[in-house]
Symmetry: C2
Subunit: 380 residues, 2 copies
């Protein structure tokens, strides 16, 4: 292979592709990025055990020359060094020339690197995906759905299925759910798909989705999504992003979401967030970052926390409205903070069904999001 590539485009391509390179792999070839030339340009590929990314750099775009191919071929180069080198090269174009025994020269202006490459034949093939179940949604909505659910997934492997986000699709309605069994996040969105397409029990690793999120653009350009039994593929203009699916049956979460409530409280999201932040300050070293929430004298709410060695905090906030019974309840401040930080609406509605029952939080401006937190039993 002997090619010239625009340095800015190559830097972006390596940076995105690197997200599929694991720094902890014991398989040397997987610490590399595979570069291949073909008639339409250059493809960069990287793969770890969870995700694979393929990035296409076209020959030209909008009249700008991106790639000049002098001799076709392919090579695997160490991702870490490639990233550092290309980012710092001085010229507008980067010349990459593969010589004997995969020794590769990377040249730009008066800068000249010789890197030991690896045999591209040893690089794993990407999964073949049959495009049966295809639907599309705008990149910014997909990012929002990931941001508003992935934080609630389990981070330990005690129940591997809970480290994922559960997808379902029915009647053009896409639904994400994540739960670590102490709290839950659910987000729905309308998508473009054929009416007969339905999905159920598709579970994508939350970590993979967070990596995908970093690659997606912040605009409404459509992402095509192809789901199979064990893989899911996301297609954007330049990128193919593959993720494995988690195997197993996701728990039925519908039965734990209470359908009625005894107390409904509407609060300003930021005021509530800041009060919980302060209430949790003294407990941050403690294992149980528990805060107490109680209706003081409607519409005043008291949030308090005690850390025996350090001291105690009492916060008072005014609810926009309180309906139903008075409530005294304790919960993990971290779960509430995670939730409130992902909610974009100005106000939230909190719906309680008793001091020992899970309670629901949702934005007041739409019905697409729902969060659930299990309370903590305290003896005070």
């Amino acid at each position: 292979m002997h090619v010239m590539i625009n340095r800015e485009i190559l830097t972006a391509a390596i940076s995105d592709t690197s997200r599929a390179v694991s720094s902890r792999t014991t398989i040397p070839i997987l610490t590399g990025i595979k570069m291949s030339s073909h008639s339409e340009g250059i493809t960069l590929t990287a793969s770890d055990s969870d995700i694979s990314i393929e990035y296409a750099i076209p020959l030209e775009e909008d009249g700008n020359l991106y790639v000049d191919i002098k001799r076709h071929g392919s090579i695997v180069l160490p991702a870490r060094y490639l990233n550092d080198i290309v980012r710092r090269l001085p010229g507008e174009f980067v010349e990459i020339e593969v010589g004997e025994r995969f020794l590769t020269t990377i040249r730009s202006a008066k800068s000249d690197f010789n890197l030991n490459g690896l045999d591209p034949e040893d690089f794993p093939r990407l999964p073949q995906i049959e495009e049966e179940k295809v639907f599309s949604l705008p990149a910014d909505i997909l990012k929002t759905m990931i941001r508003q659910t992935s934080f609630a997934a389990a981070t330990t492997e005690l129940r591997p299925i809970l480290t994922g986000i559960m997808w379902s699709l029915e009647e053009d309605q896409l639904h994400f759910v994540a739960t670590d069994s102490h709290r839950l996040a659910s987000r729905k969105s309308h998508v473009e798909s054929s009416p007969e397409l339905s999905l159920d029990n598709i579970v994508t690793p939350a970590k993979s989705m967070q990596e995908l999120s970093k690659i997606l653009s912040d605009d409404d350009s459509l992402v095509d999504i192809v789901a199979t039994d064990n893989q899911i593929l996301f297609k954007t203009k330049n990128i193919l992003f593959y993720s494995r699916l988690l195997s197993g049956t996701y728990p039925d979460v519908n039965r734990i979401i209470p359908q009625q409530s005894k107390t409904d409280i509407i609060l300003n999201t930021k005021e509530f967030l800041h009060a919980i932040e302060r209430a949790s300050l003294l407990a941050k070293d403690g294992k149980n970052n528990v805060v107490k929430f109680s209706v003081l004298q409607s519409p005043a709410i008291e949030i308090s926390s005690i850390s025996p060695e350090v001291g105690k905090v009492t916060e008072e906030i005014q609810a926009a409205s309180i309906e139903g019974e008075d409530i005294k309840i304790s919960f993990n401040a971290k779960y509430m903070l995670d939730t409130l930080r992902t909610i974009d609406s100005e106000e939230v509605k909190v719906r309680f069904t008793g001091a020992m029952s899970p309670f629901i939080i949702h934005p007041t401006d739409h019905e697409q999001s729902l969060y659930l937190i299990l309370p903590v039993r305290t003896y005070q």
Copy 2:
């Protein structure tokens, strides 16, 4: 003590004072900040084994009320919590009231903290300094002098005196030197002092000076400096910053600075820096981050580096001028990067006296700075 303090001023005061709080101390009282009220306002004090800081908040400034004292007194509060709490409080003012057994209430708007305080009588007294040797220099120049020398001080305690910056003052000329015995940085500056004042062998810990640097403003407001046998005191408008001095005799560095040179090369600082950065990319995991520097064919300079497992780099840069003999020399890239990153002038002059001798770098636009690096012996 019962006081009201403007939250913004208090946040800044706690943040600066916290620099003298060690997180690793085994003496509980030293994890705290002492607050005392007096007729002119509030004083915050913190102290670790190296530095002490006293921050004065006046009753008012420019017609703005900063402090309202309801009852005089003092208290020691845990620095870490104090910092986090005050920064997040909702109101414009913070009310601090000390009750029984040092239990302290911190109140702002509807937020109410109770913190376990400590007895202010147990807090160590700050050193008493006799103002014998006093001189002044602008804060921005002091910051520059610290930045351009402290990086060259030793970071290990093998020879404790080398972890410091050596100060000397003679005929209104202040001189800083730091060396870890592999490289050296020297910086001079004119100061305002009485002509008979002279200092020698005053060695301040480089780390303390870096902390001081973070507190100093970026303008030319004067800093008064008082040196004694074992302490040095820096006085700004609001802050007293004390540092202990290192004991021992600083090595005589003048005899290792070569007075003549055989090769003088002038290079563009940024081009040289970027070439060394790239040349050191492949070696960054290696212990000896060695690059080779050689005059290729005047005015072309070659900078190269080899990492057997990864590959090699060759960089070519054009010197602005080369005078004297050709030179081939190897040195630690990190020392050169540290040096070039602190130099503000557009061009640097590098002066060699042979492949095995220390060489000198200095900016071309003034004579106040001098850097010295010892070369590395290579067998190629």
